[in-house]
């Protein structure tokens, strides 16, 4: 184990590395999310590509120092394209013993662990479940450990600001940030600007935080780091030029829903009930009132989807959002939207289940529910988001499909994407073709269930339209008139039409493309949703190693792209990694009778690149 020493080192002695994975971990009260966000911003400004993964505790505010109160923020940033928030850590910063014990196993052998020795008190060690102090024994021998009393140094650094000891310690995260800034040769300006803006009305707080930041930076610069820990340099990545910002999946979906309704020239009525990790979307949209967005926090999920259906009936676009258990509650009402053929979007932020499960952990286990989870023959299109930024495009597509085909659309995202952020090349809305909704206004030959020849969609009529008063409902409707009908042949016909309408969407969506590799490769990895990053990187790595492997990633889960069957049949093997017990794989096998094989993991965490590489290698090396 290394000790902190005091060797002066000129700044230019920086190693260039292609990318790095850094995680800040500490108590919920330590401000780790803020720290990570600042680091992210600065990495982006330095031109790196990046991906982040915030990890909140399940408890609101767990007692300080406990393992279940640990909050962490991970960032993978680099000079190349970054696909995931990173498998294992180059640098782990821990603000207390609980953060060390819960995060250590993710550090690479030889990786750097920076620990605040000031917080390694007997009390905190006990709370974390340590018998002795791991900084004092040989248990950390496989890592490069930097032991710094950040607590003391922070208090020292901010002593001019007249803060209580407790308040002074609150800048500790900025001290750590300053140090890591130094390690990667980062500029502090964006963060100091942000601190000044945030604490405009409390300049002493701004000052203290900046002082801590500078002190941490100075600590690195002025040579108090162990010899073998140098400064690193991560050059800018090759990134398409343009204006960038970071977005989480939630940000992107919120913006995409708004963009979609603008392209459709529709009002947006967003009706939801809070649930982790879906609530963030409600929060985002609730703040967009100047765009005329109406948000409604209903009494429960059923009322939320009901109100969304009512809004669509009234001529706005009803959108509802929840996570697995809440989506389950909505299914009966979604059946009504299917029966009455009204547009509706259901956003499902999947989380680990069954039942309450692990609300703060990610999973992709609601595909079955999305495709099959309703009473009777009740098909609807299901589309999925594969990265944080992708949410924007997918949300627009959901609006387009819902309004063009007069159907509810299920949009699948997950807890990982909800919180993870990526840099986003801000789109120019002029590049998007509008798809304005044409409400029916012509009374001539109007019938509520006469269909468009092409799409099989029925007309959408705003109540209030002269001469078009009509009635619709959930009892089977006569083809055309929409009157209640118990006629045997009519039910057969309407069931067939509903199925044909949804199947017909396959002709409206793009054919499936291969993301990487060649058609007919020895093995194709088929993914959907947030596994995009790790699969993409793993396949890339394997291809670089010379393996004949390809990657197909599905946006459209139902209906499947019409060329997919033929495409899949051409590959030697089909491997389907999912963060569930094997759901897409069931669909593919049933549809195409291809011997697709599942590769499954449900531990609440995204796939590691490494796991995927091993799986691919295992299937190709035999």
């Amino acid at each position: 184990m290394s000790e902190v020493t005091a060797i002066e080192r000129p700044e230019e002695k920086r190693d260039e590395v292609e990318s790095a994975v850094v995680r800040f971990a500490g108590d919920s009260g330590d401000g780790m999310q803020l720290t990570g966000t600042q680091f992210t911003l600065t990495a982006a400004l330095a031109g790196n590509d990046l991906a982040t993964f915030p990890d909140f505790p399940a408890e609101i505010r767990a007692p300080a120092g406990t393992t279940f109160g640990v909050s962490a923020f991970q960032i993978n940033f680099g000079a190349r394209r970054i696909m995931t928030s990173g498998d294992d850590l180059d640098v782990l910063v821990v603000m207390n013993p609980a953060a060390l014990i819960t995060n250590l196993s993710d550090v690479k052998p030889g990786g750097i662990v920076i620990a605040d020795t000031g917080s390694f008190t007997d009390r905190n060690l006990a709370k974390a479940g340590y018998d002795g102090n791991p900084l004092d024994d040989d248990s950390l021998d496989k890592y490069r450990v930097v032991k710094i009393d950040m607590s003391r140094l922070t208090v020292e650094a901010v002593k001019d600001y007249g803060l209580s000891n407790k308040d002074a310690l609150r800048s500790k995260n900025m001290w750590a940030l300053g140090l890591v800034y130094w390690m990667y040769g980062r500029r502090r300006k964006a963060s100091t600007d942000w601190l000044n803006a945030k604490f405009e009305k409390r300049p002493e707080i701004a000052g203290a935080n900046i002082a801590a930041l500078n002190a941490g930076h100075a600590f690195g610069e002025t040579a108090e780091m162990p010899a073998e820990i140098g400064g690193y340099n991560i050059p800018a990545a090759e990134i398409a030029p343009g204006l960038y910002r970071t977005v989480t999946g939630t940000d992107a979906i919120a913006l995409g829903l708004l963009a979609g309704t603008r392209l459709a020239n529709l009002g947006l009525t967003f009706c939801s009930y809070p649930i982790t990790p879906a609530s963030a979307l409600l929060h985002q949209l609730a703040a967009m009132k100047e765009f005329g967005v109406v948000t409604f926090q209903a009494e429960d999920e059923i009322a939320a989807v009901g109100a969304a259906i009512g809004a669509s009936y009234a001529g706005s676009l009803g959108v509802t959002s929840s996570s697995g258990p809440g989506i389950a509650l909505k299914m009966e009402a979604i059946g009504l939207a299917i029966a009455t053929e009204l547009p509706l979007i259901i956003v499902n932020s999947q989380r680990a289940g069954p039942s309450t499960g692990m609300p703060t952990k990610t999973e992709q286990s609601d595909l079955y529910q999305a495709v099959f989870g309703r009473n009777a023959d009740a098909p609807l299109p299901v589309i999925s988001v594969s990265s944080s930024t992708d949410g924007f495009e997918v949300a627009i597509e959901a609006v387009r499909l819902a309004t063009k085909f007069m159907t509810p659309v299920m949009l699948l995202t997950d807890g990982y994407l909800a919180n993870a952020s990526e840099p986003w090349l801000i789109p120019d809305m002029a590049d998007y073709a509008p798809f304005e909704v044409k409400f029916r206004t012509d009374p001539k030959d109007f019938q509520p269930f006469t269909r468009d020849d092409d799409t099989l969609a029925r007309p959408w009529v705003k109540p209030g339209t002269p001469q078009l008063a009509h009635r619709i409902g959930g009892i089977e409707r006569a083809d055309g008139s929409g009157h209640i009908s118990y006629d045997a042949d009519n039910h057969q016909k309407m069931t067939d039409l509903r199925a044909a309408k949804i199947n017909g969407i396959a002709d409206d969506i793009p054919e499936q493309e291969i993301d990487q590799g060649e058609a007919g490769a020895s093995l194709v990895v088929v993914g959907w949703g947030s596994t995009y990053g790790p699969i993409s990187r793993a396949v890339n790595n394997m291809r670089n190693e010379g393996f004949n492997v390809a990657h197909i990633h599905l946006r459209y889960i139902w209906p499947l792209p019409r060329n997919l069957g033929d495409l899949l049949k051409g590959f030697g093997q089909v491997l389907v990694p999912e963060m569930n017990k094997g759901q897409l794989v069931t669909l593919l096998r049933a549809q195409y009778l291809v011997a697709a094989e599942g590769f499954n993991k449900v531990n609440g965490k995204p796939f590691l690149i490494n796991e995927l590489e091993t799986a691919i290698r295992g299937r190709l090396e035999n």
Binding site: E299, D300, A303, G310, Y313, G464, G473
Partner: protein, 340 residues
């Protein structure tokens, strides 16, 4: 609620669809349908600005028979769906129709929340104290001892009182009438229509197939005068064949008692005046039950408050006024951005 006058004078018939009405012959729902159509004609309500939303049940078939916009939805959820309609377009006149099962059993929660939020719509609860459509099971309003297919030995659960529930839930307009009171009901419906906010109207409705005559002890012609009291704001609470019975507060104990004008020195001046803005009074009136008391009909409570749909849109508009109409390009670029 927008009273929009249609170009030509509409009659009750203009509000009827060409669909064959499919309730059991003799069902109280027919009388209610007639009253509603008459009321809309009296108000010259614009059929195309009018939406009837219902759940599932015999009562919930209602929209099919109204020549307006109509949405026959799913069991219990009509208040929620109607809330969405009003959120998307507060200009529409929305009527919500359903039975005691629909709105108080499976849909009780939505009814509570639409009332407390005070969404601007009319709720017509057809209370027949039974599940008609599913062939006669008892409902949450059925009296104890109701024999039904699901309670062959008599129900044992205490019923809920629709009006008391509505008041407790925070409803600002609570009224009552009876299917066959063809003069009274339209007056109540008009009041409901005129009230801005959630107007809750409980209509006692006879299901002659599964619960015939369950209200006859106060709805039969012969007992109406003594077993009904038609309350009117500001008027004394008088009833009885000879209009000589009245309600009075018992001293200090917050209980009503029946007194007879002309007996024991009681004069009309002693009779309590109905104050429809007085919530505790409404609660007392709502809890009166035969045979000890007459059933209170009419507008038991009306004390308007701002509506939810109004407030939602006011807030949106206020923010638009304050921040200006949203600039989407700016929104896309909000937060920290950088140029590559």
């Amino acid at each position: 609620m927008n009273v929009q006058t249609a170009p030509e004078k509409l009659t009750a018939k203009d509000y009827a669809t060409d669909q064959e009405v499919r309730w059991c012959p003799g069902c109280g729902d027919y009388a209610i349908l007639k009253s509603v159509q008459r009321t809309l004609a009296d108000l010259q309500a614009d059929p195309e600005q009018t939406v009837f939303v219902s759940g599932i049940g015999c009562a919930a078939r209602f929209p099919y028979y109204m020549e307006t916009y109509g949405f026959h939805t799913i069991h219990g959820r009509s208040p929620a769906i109607a809330t969405g309609v009003k959120l998307a377009n507060p200009e529409l006149d929305v009527w919500v129709v359903g039975g005691d099962g629909d709105m108080l059993s499976i849909g009780g929660n939505h009814t509570m929340h639409v009332l407390r939020r005070n969404v601007d719509l009319q709720i017509l609860l057809f209370n027949n104290e039974i599940y008609g459509l599913t062939k006669g099971q008892y409902s949450p309003t059925s009296h104890i001892g109701t024999r039904s297919p699901s309670t062959p030995f008599g129900s044992v659960d205490r019923p809920v009182s629709a009006a008391q529930f509505a008041i407790g839930a925070g409803g600002r307009f609570v009224a009552r009438s009876v299917d066959i009171l063809q003069k009274h009901l339209p007056v109540v419906l008009k009041r409901a229509y005129e009230n801005k906010g959630a107007s809750f109207v409980e209509i006692f409705q006879n299901c002659l197939v599964y619960n015939d005559a369950v209200f006859s002890h106060f709805t039969e012609k012969s007992v109406q005068a003594d077993m009904q009291i038609h309350v009117e704001h500001g008027e004394p609470l008088i009833f009885g064949t000879e209009s000589n019975k009245g309600l009075r507060m018992k001293n200090d104990v917050l209980e009503l008692e029946i007194v007879t004008i002309g007996e024991d020195g009681v004069t009309e001046g002693d009779i309590l005046l109905h104050d429809e803005t007085n919530r505790p009074l409404a609660m007392l009136l709502a809890s009166m039950q035969p045979p000890a008391f007459p059933v209170a009909l009419g507008v038991l409570y009306c004390d308007p408050a701002p509506t939810y749909d109004g407030a939602v849109h006011d807030q949106v508009n206020a923010i638009k006024d304050e921040k200006g109409e949203g600039d989407f390009d700016k929104l896309l670029r909000q937060g920290h951005t950088w140029e590559v």
